[in-house]
């Protein structure tokens, strides 16, 4: 009972913040709303019993990705941004498309999984996840580390300020 109330509250918050993310005219407000939405998603993970994922969600998304995103927002703002419209002319079609997809997904989920009602048990998950990552998932794990290295190098290459490009 209490869990259901908590779930509805968190779901309401996530959807509210997500709507702010896609509709706000001020991109900095969008980024802050996204930060809040991701933190609440961490709360949903905790509700589902995934404590390790909740913590790493906050650590990686809020402590890392969102800070870099706010950083880039701060670096790439122009004074005219506040008075310009932030959505392109095709937004009514986008809205229709999104509503269609949402309705379809919700309806299909309801048909196929409407009856599943298991009690998610709260167990410590960090040790099993670590064991899984280093035994059965070890090849994807190593591949992901390569991807991260490539992303690191790529980000440095893209973002560095080449001196010759400044010349007239």
């Amino acid at each position: 009972m209490i869990e259901s109330l908590v779930f509805y509250f968190l779901a309401f918050l996530v959807i509210g913040f997500a709507v702010v993310v896609v509709t706000s005219r001020n991109i900095f407000h969008s980024a802050l709303a996204l930060t809040a939405a991701l933190s609440v998603v961490a709360g949903i993970f905790a509700l589902l019993g995934a404590d390790f994922l909740a913590a790493s969600q906050v650590l990686v998304y809020v402590g890392g990705i969102m800070i870099i995103m706010l950083f880039v927002v701060m670096l790439s703002q122009q004074p005219t941004d506040a008075i310009r419209s932030q959505s392109n002319p095709q937004w009514p079609f986008a809205l229709l498309f999104a509503i269609a997809i949402a309705a379809e997904l919700v309806q299909k989920y309801r048909t196929f999984f409407g009856a599943v009602e298991a009690r998610p048990g709260i167990l410590p998950t960090s040790a099993p996840i670590g064991r899984l990552l280093l035994t059965e998932m070890v090849i994807p794990f190593e591949a992901v580390s390569l991807v991260l290295l490539a992303a690191l190098v790529g980000a440095v290459v893209f973002a560095q300020d080449r001196q010759e490009s400044r010349l007239p």
Partner: protein
């Protein structure tokens, strides 16, 4: 023995059974007890920064051969209280160019997580409020939220100095978060748990019956991890020598230039709460937690270690000059990060040879 934990828990148990026998529903008594515990923790978190502010002023004064605050109360111990009251009654100014709501919420978001982070700290035997399985990850994750508050303060003030301070704070905090987390990984590998309480308890054994098995004494992995953790914690709290985010001589006051009154006080509170949090983490992770050699009660021993670490933080601030931005970044990425990775490798080798 002057153990506080068993005494408090027996008192709480007695209170609960008394309340239940007098007709209070058990869940109500449980909620009341939990809110009492949370209230005590929050009181502690708000009290500790006041002590630390006073300590900082006194320590800096002694390091500069002054007396420091002497007027309010004996030896000026009530000075922080007076300052707090003064800040509370100051006019609250929101600048005209400010992003209003961002400006208002920035100090709250910077300060709020500090309170949450104190929940899993092992203050001594039976004095852990919440014993989470992933408490180290939890503390790192939640304390990272404060950076968002600092950036909101930098952006929401509508001031170029604040903005520069916010950008610098973001770059610095994101960079130093990485070696800070990596410096703790050897402990997780060594003790095989992520619980702060578990790690603190595992260090209370003895080598040859007298020498404490604190992690800092495992040469070389312990001292390296400790030094990286210490440096990165100083950087995470935005204090000199890493205070480029609020460098007075360059940026007025950085991200909190435009904040006045209680909002400024909240930023201040957050900074000292994080100093205390980092000291407490260092005490629990590297210095054996509440290990008092069986003579000193665990909570007194823990607090003594924590305040000794806090003194180190204050000492750093008043002895080192500020680093330049590029020095700061290259120090983090080219020295601390490789050192932390090498330390993880060494720990792996150690564990391999131990088994």
């Amino acid at each position: 023995m002057l153990e506080l934990g068993p005494f408090l828990s027996s008192m709480i148990q007695g209170g609960r059974s008394w309340a239940v026998s007098h007709g209070v529903p058990p869940i109500g008594a449980q909620i009341a007890i939990m809110s009492m515990e949370v209230g005590i923790t929050i009181l502690l978190v708000s009290l500790v920064p006041m002590v630390l502010v006073y300590a900082e002023r006194k320590v800096s004064a002694f390091m500069q051969a002054r007396l420091g605050p002497m007027e309010v109360g004996p030896f000026g111990i009530l000075q922080t209280l007076a300052d707090g009251i003064k800040l509370m009654f100051k006019e609250d100014v929101i600048p005209e160019g400010a992003d209003r709501w961002v400006h208002i919420f920035a100090p709250i978001i910077a300060c709020g997580p500090a309170f949450v982070c104190f929940a899993p700290l092992p203050f001594g035997k039976g004095l852990t409020l919440v014993d989470l399985d992933t408490s180290i990850l939890f503390i790192f994750a939640v304390s990272g939220l404060s950076t968002i508050g600092i950036m909101m303060g930098g952006w929401g003030s509508g001031n170029k100095f604040s903005m520069l301070g916010g950008i610098r704070a973001a770059a610095q905090l994101v960079s130093y978060e990485i070696p800070r987390v990596l410096s703790v990984v050897p402990l997780l590998m060594f003790y095989g748990t992520q619980s702060l309480k578990g790690i603190a308890l595992a260090q209370q054994a003895r080598i040859w019956g007298f020498f404490p098995k604190w992690f800092i004494f495992y040469f070389p992995i312990g001292p390296i991890a400790f030094i990286i953790f210490l440096i990165c914690s100083v950087a995470e709290t935005n204090r000199t020598p890493f205070d480029i985010a609020e460098a007075e001589s360059e940026l007025v006051a950085g991200f909190h230039t435009e904040f006045s009154g209680l909002k400024f006080a909240l930023f201040f509170l957050a900074e000292y709460a994080y100093v205390f949090l980092a000291s407490a983490m260092a005490a629990a992770l590297f210095l054996g937690g509440g290990d008092g050699f069986g003579i000193i009660p665990t909570w007194i021993s823990f607090l003594m270690k924590t305040f000794a670490m806090s003194f180190t933080f204050l000492w750093f601030r008043w002895t080192f000059p500020r680093m330049r931005v590029d020095q700061l970044m290259s120090f983090c990425w080219k020295f601390l990060l490789p050192l932390a990775l090498i330390n993880i490798l060494l720990t792996g080798a150690w564990i391999l040879f131990r088994s």
